[in-house]
């Protein structure tokens, strides 16, 4: 019976199985149909979406930074170069444990505690976790090698190679050329963010800042294929960046070096101009800083040292230092007297060493005054008043002049305004007048203000740049050519550089004759060259610089008081603190008959203009004359296009 049942079941079970198998096969077909529909969904209906998603995965458009234009001096010496540098960059989103990464990097690269803190700080401020952020600059070959070996331990750590600025002359040209600095988010808001998308450095000071647009160039692009870890597998398409334009400056780096040497570590500034073109031949401010530090990166501590030093090395004294010009202002007052017919070259006064305004007790003293009233220059005309630097002559002259006439005349020389074409940050100094005094001090203009102003004291302030321009105008016999750094601009080697024309303004065209200018030049020449005539017959600077000189130089010394010396007291240098001592000035040009250079020297708290500043000026002029002579043979100097 069991066998019978089994046979019976067998037939029924075969039928049952075939039925079930068929049903399940239909189910299989249906489910495969679902898969097919899903595939159609992905590969046909939504294909475009996934296609572009795959392409986005695969390719990235990277921006390429343009090479920054180079900066040359007038003779083709490279002042600002681009060099290859390796930097350490971190990609925030790929770093899981920043403290651990930093400690590993510290082991590998021997980072200082400051650098570690710097990395943590920069990473915490970073807003783009997907982009590499440069945290350590200027890696050595050895450091790069160590990073490469340990790459697998350091996800999100990259070595970025880029061109960075290099200033071969370092401190020497720092204030003249300026510097670039790593861009900040604030910087990005001031420039075209597309053009600067690959740029790390932006011109922050000097020429680098003013000609940023020309130097920067245009951004390039490349399309690259990257894998899931972000590594570039291949480059698909490149649109090269356009390098920035090269600049040629009027600056003469050899003269600049000589100027730095002439200052020999003294705090101060030198500005030398080519009076014919307005070109700035030298622009020195000491102490200076190494602009390369802004590129290779410095610690916060180093920067705070630099920025908080009492000697303010970051401060550009040449264009931003405002000082009382002292006696260097006297040629301007003298010419104003001639121009306004207040005096003539023949008119004389008797200088007894002191001056009093009618009905006033205050005594205005000559620099040669002594307590026993034995000072004074005796009988002085304008010529003698310049080479002896008589204060009394100019006290008298100024009180007889309309103050507005004097201010207007001085203003034409560029005092009280910034005439430099490409240093917009240069300070305007201060040329006071009655309206200014009423407005700022709520006091009327007293005759005593004119007396003080006549010898470049009182409220009058000028920068070394402005006083160099004064020297340049006199050197040019009245022609004012606005100063500028840039000589020409070029688009690569093939193009002929675009040379800039210099605008010229004539001062005192209707009131001063050529003879008047020659007389002033002669008087300033006497400051240097008139010697062996006894103390009251020699030029003030003769004893210091007037001997053994192979060319004729014209100059004017100035010694500017920083603190007021009380009535009846003498200036005792030893008793004054370092920053209260007098500033030493000297303005000069040479050769006097056909000047090719005009300059101003300022030595902060240096003491006497003739004794301290004049030798510096002489050394710079000597260097210039020698360089001119040496180059005259080889004809390397920049052609003059001003006139």
């Amino acid at each position: 019976m069991a066998v019978e049942l089994a046979i019976k079941d067998q037939n029924r079970e075969v039928a049952l199985f075939v039925g079930r198998a068929t049903t399940l096969f239909v189910l299989v077909v249906l489910l495969l149909g679902v898969l097919i529909l899903r595939l159609l969904d992905l590969q046909f209906w939504d294909h475009d979406t996934y296609k572009s998603r795959s392409d986005d995965n695969r390719t990235r458009v990277q921006t390429l930074a343009p090479a920054r234009g180079m900066i040359f001096d007038r003779n083709g010496h490279l002042l600002a170069d681009n060099q290859n540098a390796s930097s350490l960059a971190l990609v925030g989103e790929r770093i899981t444990d920043l403290p651990q990464t930093v400690s590993l990097l510290t082991q590998l690269l021997d980072l200082t505690p400051e650098q570690q803190a710097e990395i943590q700080g920069r990473m915490s401020l970073n807003r783009r976790a997907d982009k590499p952020l440069i945290v350590v600059d200027a890696l050595s070959q050895r450091q790069v090698a160590r990073l490469a070996v340990n790459r697998h331990l350091l996800p999100g750590v990259e070595v970025v190679n880029q061109l960075v600025r290099f200033y071969p002359y370092g401190e020497v040209a720092a204030h003249a050329v300026g510097s670039v600095r790593r861009m900040t988010l604030d910087d990005l808001s001031t420039v075209d963010p597309i053009q600067y998308s690959a740029t790390s450095f932006i011109g922050k000071r000097g020429v680098e800042a003013f000609y940023e647009e020309q130097l920067h160039g245009a951004v390039g692009y490349q399309k690259v294929e990257r894998d899931a870890l972000g590594r570039v597998r291949q480059t698909l398409d490149v649109q090269s960046p356009n390098p920035g334009q090269d600049l040629r400056l009027h600056l003469d780096i050899e003269l600049q070096q000589a100027s730095v040497k002439a200052l020999s570590g003294k705090r101060g500034a030198i500005v030398a101009l080519d009076p014919r073109s307005g070109g700035i031949l030298a622009l020195v401010s000491e102490p200076a800083y190494d602009p390369n530090m802004f590129v290779s990166g410095m610690t916060a501590k180093a920067f705070s040292q630099l920025s908080s030093s009492v000697y303010v090395p970051l401060f550009n004294r040449a264009v931003n230092g405002q000082y009382a010009p002292g006696s260097t202002f006297k040629p301007v007052v003298g010419l104003a007297g001639i121009a306004t017919n207040t005096t003539s070259w023949d008119q004389t006064i008797d200088d007894r060493g002191s001056f009093q305004l009618p009905g006033q007790e205050r005594i205005y003293r000559d620099w040669s005054w002594t307590k026993d009233d034995s000072g004074g220059q005796g009988l002085v005309d304008l010529n003698r008043a310049i080479y002896r630097s008589s204060n009394v002559y100019f006290y008298d002259l100024a009180t007889r002049m309309q103050i507005d006439d004097l201010v207007r005349f001085a203003g034409a020389f560029g005092l009280g305004q910034n005439l430099v074409l490409d240093i917009p940050s240069a300070s305007p100094g201060l040329l006071p007048n009655p309206e200014w005094k009423q407005g700022v001090k709520s006091l009327p203009w007293y005759p005593g203000d004119s007396v003080n102003m006549s010898i470049g004291q009182g409220d009058l302030l000028a920068t070394p740049m402005q006083m160099a321009l004064v020297a340049s105008v006199i050197a040019n016999r009245g022609d004012l050519v606005a100063p500028r750094m840039l000589a020409s601009i070029s688009n690569g080697a093939a193009d002929t550089p675009q040379v800039l024309e210099a605008p010229v303004k004539k001062i005192g065209a209707e009131t001063l004759t050529a003879e008047d200018w020659e007389n002033m030049v002669r008087a300033m020449g006497d400051v240097v060259h008139r010697g062996n005539q006894g103390f009251r017959g020699n030029g003030t600077a003769w004893a210091y610089i007037g001997q053994d000189i192979g060319y004729r130089m014209a100059g004017k010394s100035g010694t500017a008081q920083v603190v007021e010396i009380r009535q009846g007291e003498e200036y005792e240098e030893e008793q004054l603190s370092e920053f209260d001592r007098k500033h030493a000035w000297f303005i000069a040009f040479a050769p006097a008959e056909n000047p090719t250079i005009a300059l101003a020297v300022l030595v902060e708290n240096g003491g006497g203009g003739s004794s301290v500043a004049a030798p510096v000026a002489r050394a710079v002029l000597d260097a210039h004359m020698q360089l001119q002579q040496a180059r005259g043979a080889s004809g390397r100097d920049l052609e003059v296009v001003a006139r």
Binding site: E13, V18, A21, L35, L39, H47, N57, R58, E225
Partner: protein, 379 residues
């Protein structure tokens, strides 16, 4: 009954098989099924060639494994079905014992305790054997009972299936657990399990879903299910696999980017490109046409397998062969559905194509058994 009457009941295929007139009948091999399998394997090797991205060693290792798998198939085909019937309970108990051993002494790989190791000798996954032994045990159990199974027998079968499936799922190896359960359950379905019960069970599971979610699923499993519905919620974490695999398939379009041209896999965006996600490589490089071709091959294998199963001489043979075919389908469906983003990510390879040996050997051995139950007609 004359001899000729008897012969009429045999199909020409059976007659040929019975006479042993062809080499493949003597070898107990079905040439159509073997041919289809060979085409799938060859197709898989071509795709793998691209997916290994020049790694010759991996490619050679896979060739070696597939050779072993074919050998396993041939060997399995030689063994007569009654032998399988006899060893089924023993086989099942051995498997269960191994699973218990894994629970206590297993080796943990990638956070999952699946492997049993005899140091210096061999290392294997008992769960892989259960894919064969569970359906064998269910078929053995039902062989001696009348079909369709009564409620009592059904519950007994479910117990046979659920115990190992649950143990495997807790390893945790949800993918294999599902396959083992599917393999055993497909026997019940083929045996005529009442559709009404099936519907009730599905409704019951749906009702219990919140409890399962809360108490059964592990945190990462829940995350995988959530990710399925919104991969963009965690594009770099849990959603990465799905986003990258759907992107790979979708970007392939109708005809694909061309063999060896798949950027998603070549640039390492696609995870597990050689193993579980290889269908994304096919989709990307060979497009809709390539995947459809493969799915068609699979469908033909299933059709042929079921046909062979229906020809088997015993209930045990039919159920066993049929369930292997359906298990094969569950493999491919779960895998393709997972990679194309309609099922959560579970570790199930694409049968005969994914890199990796164990599942290929098990599957081919299963096909060997199918051919055995068909060709050993005498039993």
């Amino acid at each position: 009954m004359s001899n000729t009457d008897f012969q009429r009941t045999l199909s020409p295929y059976d007659a040929a098989a019975a006479s042993g007139s062809r080499w493949y009948f003597r070898l107990h091999i079905d040439p159509i099924l073997v041919g289809l399998l060979a085409v799938v394997v060859a197709f898989g090797l071509v795709v793998l060639r691209s997916a290994v991205d020049g790694n010759e060693a991996l490619f050679a290792a896979q060739l070696q494994r597939l050779s072993v798998a074919f050998l396993a198939m041939v060997v399995a085909a030689q063994i007569p079905p009654h032998f399988y019937l006899r060893v089924a309970p023993l086989f099942y108990l051995l498997g269960l014992t191994a699973l218990v051993l894994v629970f206590f002494f297993g080796v943990t790989v990638k956070g999952s305790q699946r492997w049993l190791e005899v140091p210096g000798l061999l290392r294997f996954q008992p769960s892989e054997l259960m894919k064969l032994s569970v359906p064998m045990a269910v078929a053995w159990y039902l062989q001696r009972r009348t079909l369709p199974p009564s409620l009592k027998y059904t519950v007994a079968c479910l117990a046979i299936i659920a115990v190992p499936a649950f143990m495997i799922g807790r390893q945790p190896d949800l993918g294999t657990g599902i396959l083992v359960f599917g393999a055993g359950f497909s026997v019940l379905l083929l045996a005529g399990l009442s559709w009404r019960w099936v519907v009730w069970a599905i409704l019951g599971i749906c009702a219990a879903a919140p409890l399962i979610w809360q108490f059964v699923l592990e945190g990462y499993q829940r995350l995988r299910i959530l990710t399925l519905f919104n991969p963009e919620s965690d594009p770099l974490g849990a959603g990465w696999n799905i986003i990258q695999s759907t992107t790979a398939i979708g970007s392939g379009g109708l005809f694909g980017k061309g063999l060896f041209q798949g950027t998603q896999s070549y640039l390492d965006f696609l995870p597990e490109a050689r193993t579980d996600f290889i269908v994304a490589v096919i989709g990307e490089e060979l497009g809709f046409v390539g995947v459809s071709f493969l799915l068609t091959l699979y469908l033909l294998i299933i059709a042929r397998g079921l046909w062979l199963a229906a020809q088997a001489g015993s209930t045990f043979g039919r159920l066993l062969a049929g369930s292997f075919v359906l298990t094969f389908f569950i493999y491919l469906f779960v895998n393709v559905a997972m990679v194309s983003g309609i099922l959560p990510v579970v570790g199930v390879p694409l049968p005969l194509v994914s890199y990796g040996g164990t599942s290929a050997i098990t599957l081919m051995a299963g096909f060997g058994v199918i051919m055995s139950v068909r060709t050993h007609k005498a039993w």
